[in-house]
Symmetry: C2
Subunit: 442 residues, 2 copies
Amino acid sequence: MTTRPPDPEDLAERLLRARLTRRQLLAGALGVAGAAAAGRFALGQSPPPVDTTKVPGFPATEVGARTPFEQPFRIQVGQHSWFAPIDRTYGIITPSDLHYVVSHAGTADVAPSAYKLLIHGMVGNSKAFTLADLRRFPSVSLTYSIECSGNSANAWFPPVPTDTAQNVHGLTSTSEWTGVPLSLLLREAGADRNAEWLLAESQDAAVFAKSIPAYKAWDDVLVAYGQNGEALRPEQGYPARLIVPGWEGSVNIKWLRRLEVTDRPFMGREESASYTDVLPNGTSLQFTFEMGAKSVITWPSGGYRVPAAGFWELTGLAWSGRGRVARVEVTTDGGSTWADARLQAPVLPKAHTRFRYPWTWDGKPAVLMSRVTDDSGAVQPIIDDLVKERGLHSIYHNNAVQAWSVEADGSVLSTHDPFRTALAAPGGDREALVRGFPGCLA
Amino acid sequence: MTTRPPDPEDLAERLLRARLTRRQLLAGALGVAGAAAAGRFALGQSPPPVDTTKVPGFPATEVGARTPFEQPFRIQVGQHSWFAPIDRTYGIITPSDLHYVVSHAGTADVAPSAYKLLIHGMVGNSKAFTLADLRRFPSVSLTYSIECSGNSANAWFPPVPTDTAQNVHGLTSTSEWTGVPLSLLLREAGADRNAEWLLAESQDAAVFAKSIPAYKAWDDVLVAYGQNGEALRPEQGYPARLIVPGWEGSVNIKWLRRLEVTDRPFMGREESASYTDVLPNGTSLQFTFEMGAKSVITWPSGGYRVPAAGFWELTGLAWSGRGRVARVEVTTDGGSTWADARLQAPVLPKAHTRFRYPWTWDGKPAVLMSRVTDDSGAVQPIIDDLVKERGLHSIYHNNAVQAWSVEADGSVLSTHDPFRTALAAPGGDREALVRGFPGCLA
């Protein structure tokens, strides 16, 4: 959030104070910058103002460190899900060390020298590509967002006032990905153009695997080995992963070891027991890959406080798995009136687009919401629309409009959109409800 | 370099081995991933291949760490200059902790609570903006490259064969910068539109200061507080700096504390004794702010080895302070024939643009060069053109075509362009020569 002022009640600062010990260790290990400033934090207070023109600066290092004054971090929710601080980022890029993480058996520790990607099945000649092979192919670098289909699942249920943008909506991140178009590798292996499916398999301890329609594989899928100017981070699938633009995170297979070209879906656990959408009639929707049009106001958002009445710039992120963001509307009066937000260039397909909206707060309670329309014409729904369509038990792919209430004292709480009638009962044990859905957030 | 294969002779790997102790400390502090892999490195050999599907992965952490298999780092050249690994990055973004660093008195350790930006001089009402104030203004996020005017200064002199892309051309980096348009702050302070200059001053121990023409300040200059999705890193001027798109790094004042609106340049040390271009007649060019059209092949480049004859994708970076890259030509036969390289989207103004060129190496010695043309029509010169124009002593703003020679065994050496007649004598003590130019690389 580019406009958040320092604030004693500030969520990030409260969380930071709660984690000083870890911060100090880290900072201490990350060079003089960190060590110096961590020393301050050790005193548990701000330093006396120093005239920096009168003291020599500290030397640079081979690898730089963050200032201890700005230490965003991921928050763990559930066993294997780490939520990105989407309320504490700037622009659209997510720093690689803060990218959200969802894994099913932890982070696989793959040695690049031992890495191979096998392409087999309905192919002319099976191929096993080493990392060196992959890096020899003509490559592209493209900026895409990834979102877990379980992102915002908690918001499917009546919101808890203390919900924050990070711990409810933080399972989405944006990177510049560098890699090889998968179509190139499929051609290299002589893949059968009549084969309608691909099985993509990870080499993590879950041997996590998903079926992907061939038409997508031949379209814009990448086998990526670079992320934001460097090699993939281990948690994002080092040494190589799939990037399936606009589709749910689970098919963007990390630690990719095998692609089987086939004429039918694999029907594995992760596409039968999990990652399916239970309908009112008891059947389930399968292979709902595409992520819907969605937006979240990141400042002000749950846990922050608007310091005073007056002018503030609201900001947030909008995206769609279908294409580009065409329009974002914002309301500050609970939906009575909506106005267009400013979209920040570049507006990239299947990637976060930052929006901004000038707001003069009169100091009275207010309800803030945003609503995105993508270039396919799809409009972000309210929760009732989703419930009408999918019933009560379909918590994946929750792209519903999200509401924040600003109290008279400026504190910001999570609240349901004022139109909400479905699932409007008090929160209850959402963790238990969520655990009831296999694979969700796992 | 997106296409470099693992290679026993590889520069990065040799440098990494030379720094294992530091890597281990770092990795050890950076979580299980690092620790585990650093343990391997401690053995000074690769691990026995592990079946990662049979062992649980390691847990994610609040802040992720790089794999110890991929540890790019900056190289210090001279007292205050750290060169970015431009030969070991992907796409166009430079990871924030690897952004090049040039400082004049180390990194100022500024506490955000104590930060103020003063705008005064020919203004209606002087203003002192806190960091909170700056963050309240409407903000933008734009991707620009910064280059030190001393970048490639070593290449002005006859090249030393062991020169690398990093330690000669690494004083340039690219980030997504988030901040406030300076024009907004100038309006807020009621700056006099007739004032022709601005003095921009740092609060580092050098109180580094430069004069900037007002027309540029009112055009596209930013006061930036965000870098690649997070707060500025201390070495890049935390909490706020100037971004002066396309102009030499030294005017992109870091740790910015004061902007004085004035009717004449300041004529300070850094624009009289330093950062001037000495001409043959003994006079000097001042205020040569704009960086020229420039390109560098980053793979293969000095210190690497082309493993074998056959197909390889050459890659490199091209940019211009004047605007967008319009065309990049590559020669692999020492300039006899040139062919267009592929430009990778997005092609952003005043930012690195990655280019790629398919090359089939016949295994014989070859000389590789690239030449950029920007959208103003400016073509990257050869060194002789620069010498004709500026004489022998003008080592700033060296945007001359750079040549790499590929030997029969595949090893890549730095060499002068085959057209070079000026300064063609053997290298000599370039460090001494460089030290002879005040401020250069400092």
